[in-house]
Structure formats: structure tokens, C-alpha cells
């Protein structure tokens, strides 16, 4: 019974690895058209793509699961079966250190309307992120820029990226290697607050620091 289960898991793991191999090819031509298959494909691929480089950074992910979305927690669960015991133990210690270093440090930084200037009150927290990244050169951080709902969507995509890059510059000035940082933008697509008012707009003009 339990052996059977393990066998199934191994198959799932193996097929995931195979798909991961496929998904790294530059231009894919996939033919999924039906909406439901689509959703599954997307979900499967996003997990796979993360697990692809997860072995190298298991420590960051366990940290990421702490402050961030369900994506990383899924990976941690899924990896439990694959990662060998000593690697897992090492990851655990590293994760504990990371947690200590960034305990209670802000992960979200806010911006003025149509501006991408890092506010003075953000500097202290960002300096701590920089310190952590310098101390952990294998750590990878994604800076996710966001805009409020006003204005057009693609312009807001550009604006979100500009904000992420402003934070990225702040980190590199403090000695973080550029290769450790990725700046991406969600534009106005992922608001934190859903009102159509000033306080919601302020909450949504932000950069979120996410460790991969």
C-alpha cells in the first residue's frame, strides 16, 4: 500500500522533471486550447519551473514560504519527497539564519503617484535585505513592482517595472550582485486593496520583495 504510494510519487516526480526539461526550451508551441486543460497546464508549469531550480536554493524557499504566497509553500511540500536528508538539514539551518536576519523586516515598499523614488522610510528595511543578500550570495530575490488602477494597463506595467528597478538599484548600491536580483512588474493587475480611492491606490503602488 505505502510502497505503491511511494511508487506513484516517484512517477509524478519523474514526469515533473521531464516536463521541466521541456519547459526550458526557448520557444514552445503548445496546443492546449480547452480552457480547463489550459488552467492545469499553467498551474503545472509554474510549479515545475520553480522546482527546476529549487534544489540549489531550498533554504531561500523555506524562507519565502514564510512571508509569501502559496506557490512557494507548494514547492516545499512537493520537494520534501525528493530532497535527501542532509541537504534538507543544511537548508533548515540556513533558513533559520535567514529568518533571524530578516525577522520583522518589511517586504512591501510604497511609492508616490506616477513616481518611482524609494522613500526615505524604506531605506532601513532595504538595507537589511541588502545585508542578507550580500551575506547569502546564492540567495535570489525577485522585486515585484505594482501600480494603482489609474491609467492604462501596459503603461502601468512599465511603471511597476520602473519601481522594481529603483529598489534594485538601491540594493546594488549596497553591494548586492545584480545577478541575485530580478525585477518584474505586475502593473495594475494584482492590487492589494480593491477600493477606488486614495488609500487603496496608495496601498497598491508598491514593490514586493520575494525570495525564490
Amino acid at each position: 500500500m505505502s510502497v505503491n504510494k511511494l511508487g506513484k510519487m516517484a512517477v509524478i516526480g519523474l514526469s515533473a522533471a521531464l516536463i521541466a526539461g521541456c519547459s526550458t526550451t526557448a520557444t514552445e508551441t503548445d496546443t492546449s486550447s480547452v480552457s480547463e486543460t489550459e488552467a492545469k497546464t499553467v498551474a503545472a508549469e509554474s510549479t515545475v519551473a520553480n522546482s527546476n531550480d529549487s534544489s540549489a536554493k531550498a533554504n531561500d524557499e523555506s524562507f519565502g514560504a514564510n512571508g509569501n504566497g502559496d506557490l512557494s509553500s507548494v514547492i516545499v511540500d512537493g520537494n520534501g519527497n525528493v530532497v535527501s536528508a542532509d541537504v534538507a538539514a543544511a537548508a533548515e539551518t540556513a533558513a533559520a539564519n535567514a529568518k533571524d536576519m530578516l525577522l520583522g523586516v518589511a517586504h512591501v515598499f510604497y511609492f508616490d503617484f506616477d513616481k518611482s523614488i524609494v522613500r526615505p522610510e524604506a531605506r532601513e528595511a532595504l538595507a537589511k535585505h541588502a545585508k542578507y543578500l550580500v551575506a547569502n550570495p546564492d540567495a535570489q530575490v525577485v522585486l515585484e513592482g505594482h501600480a494603482d488602477e489609474r491609467g492604462t494597463r501596459e503603461y502601468n506595467m512599465a511603471l511597476g517595472e520602473r519601481r522594481a528597478k529603483a529598489v534594485s538599484r538601491y540594493l546594488t548600491i549596497q553591494g548586492v550582485a545584480a545577478a541575485q536580483i530580478e525585477s518584474v512588474s505586475f502593473g495594475e493587475e494584482k492590487p492589494l486593496e480593491f477600493g477606488h480611492n486614495k488609500s487603496a491606490w496608495q496601498a497598491n503602488r508598491r514593490v514586493e520583495v520575494r525570495y525564490e
Binding site: A26, T27, E28, T29, D30, T31, S32, S33, V34, S35, E36, E38, A39, V42, A43, E45, S46, A49, N50, L71, D114, V142, E144, E149, R150, G151, T152, R153, E154, Y155, M157, A158, L159, E161, R162, K165, E182, S183, V184, S185, F186, G187, E189, K190, F194, H196
Partner: protein
Amino acid sequence: MKKLKCFSLGLMMLLLSGLAKAQLVIEITSGADQLLPLAVVPFAYEGQDALPADVAQIIENDLKRSGLFEAIPRTNMLSLPSKKEDVHFRDWRLLKSDYVVIGSVKQIDASNYEIAFELVNVLSQKTVEKHEGLAVKASGMRDAAHYISDKIYKLLTGVRGAFSTRILYVTAEGDRAAPTYRLQVADADGHRPQVIVESEEPILSPSWSHDGRFITYVMFRDRRPNIFVQELATGKRQKIAQYKGLNGAPAWSPDGKQLAIVLSKDGNPEIYIFDIATQKLNRITNHYSIDTEPSWEPDGKGIVFTSDRGGNPQIYRVDISSKAVERVTFEGDLNTRARMTPDGRYLVTVQKNDGNYHVALQDMKNGRVQILTETYLDESPSIAPNGSMVMYATTYNGKGILAVVSVDGLVKYRLPSAAGEVREPAWSPFFE
């Protein structure tokens, strides 16, 4: 006596407009004296099964939605002729109807029907257009109605009708913090929606190829934006851009061979042209500011785009061969996401004035600017292929919906949304 009739007519119209709200909200703001009055008489039906669609009603709705016609309410009609010999012209003159559309639907077998229609001028009593034996499947009844609307519109206005076109749009439904995004396609009147792509990550910037066979859009995957090209009929698709940073705002060239896209892989957002045959990229803009939202001129020689190189975002034009850039918009606090009418005469933008975002129309000949909309947080304007209407996204009762405005700003209507947020409309080209 006359007064009484006037009153009852007004009451009827009030009642009818109340009924119409359930399906499609039509708010015509132009003076009624400018509208061409016509009557679309319910089509006679001969068949075993229930009529799949009220063809006359679809035609009437189409023509009313164009904002150029006033339809005589069915309840005022004194007779319901389906052949010209049964048309009593005095009655229709009394109702002040300039034209009468009559017709019939006949069931041939389980799934096949035949439609006949005739457009008659009430004053001259002459037939303007007559068609018989239009073969239609039960599922194609709406297509047939839109086809007839296109014919009538062209005959009476001289402009090609766009009732047989379709729209793409994105919906977001479910938990607001983690909604399900769906890219959908529907008839231009919002009917017959179909889901093309469904995803737990955002979808934006859908647009059509020149022939309407392919679409392109941006979809996030693994928290990063990618650009896709997809064939509508087969669902077959290709990811054409997944570079580091932005991959956005895809726009098909008028000849269908290239896509203008926005990439920030070289540092900041720039416009590139992606050649579909060679899969090669050609960088078009080169500036440290934001350059985004490209849209082709109808002749394919230039691209208009949004740039904040002058401080705040405005529309610029780049000549593709020389790469020379010139500024196009000067009015308003900012202008973004330009689209050009098919004749190249007008530029539609999203303009900000005193904190309000509205759809603006700029005359490319004399530079005159007119604000077309007065709704809230307007964005994503898309122009009908006949240049008559602009569909855009707006916020109504705290919810994202689609709305339409005519290029003269007089006709306005909203498209109903069943559930969730609706956004990012893209009007199809004509289907040949």
C-alpha cells in the same frame, strides 16, 4: 386625440427602454431629430420547431445601437406585413417611419432554415434591397441577422456595417485577491461569449491579426509576463516572447507579417518589431524613458506609442524605416495607449485632465481634440473596423465594465457583464 397618441407613444418607448435594460443598456444622447426612423417588422415564421432567434429584434437592436436609427416600437405597428404587397404605406407614413424592413424565416428541415428580407422606402414605395433564400443553420441565426443589419446599414449610411464583427475581452471572476482570468471572444453585441484561455495568472492586452484568424495577448506564467500568438480556430499557440523583464503590448502589423511588442530586456521598455516568418527582433525605439503601447498606422509605415521622454506620458510617432520620432499629442496632462482610426484621420487616446481619465479623439489634420467619454477611469479604447465606434473599459458602480462611444461622442452604450470584472476589449477586423 393626437395628443393622446403622442403620450401613449412616449409611454411605450419608456416601457420598451426599460425592457431593453435587462439585455443591453442603450443611452443615446444625440437629438432625436437626427435619427433616421425605420421599422423592423417581426419576421413571419413558418416551421415545426420554435424559432431559434428573433431575427427582426436582433436587426433592430443592431441598428439602434449604431445611434443613427430610431426604431418604431413593435407595439405601435398597425400591421405586421412580411411581403411588400401587404405593406400599407399610409400606416407607416403615419408612424413617421422612413423605411420598413420586412422578412420571413422558413424551416426547411431539423437544422436548416431560409431567410428572406426586403428593405422598402416608405416615401417612394420602392424596394431598396431584396434577398430571398438565404440558407441558415439554427446556430447561425444571429449571424444572419447581423449580416442583414450590415446590408441595411451600408445601404442607408454609405458606411460598411460592423455588426458581424467580434470582440475579445478579459474577465476576472471569483476571489478578488486570486481571481480566475478568462480571455473571451463574443459577438460585437456581447452575445455568444466563448472562453479562449483560462488562467489563475493575469491576462492582458489581447488583440487581433489583420484577418481576424489569429490573436495575440500577454499572459503571466510563473509570475512573469509572456507574449502568446494563438490561432482562433484550432487553439494552437506559440509563445513568442519570454525575455527578462517586460514582455508586453503586442500589436499586429496591418499586413499581418509582424508584431510590434514591448521588451525591457535591454534595460528599459522599448518598442521592437517581431517578424513572424524569421522570428527575428528589430529594435525601433532607443530612449531611457518608458516607450510602450505601440499601435500601427493603417499604412504600416509608422507606429504611434506612449513615451514619458518629455516628462509625462504623451503619444509619439516613430517612422519605421528612419526611426525618427516626433511628438503627436500636446493637450491634456497625459495621453496614453493611442489607436488610429482605419482611415488614419483620428487618433484615440486615454487622456488625463484634472485627475480624470477619459477617451479623447484627436483630429490628425488640424490637431483638434475632443473628449468622448465622461465615465470613470476609462481605459483600453479599441476602434470598430469601420471607424464608427470606440469600445473601452470603464468603472461603473465600482465594477469594471465595457462601454462604447461613437467617434462623434454622441452615441453611448454599455455592454452588460454577467459577473466579475470585464476589461481590455479588442474589436476585431472585418471577417472577409
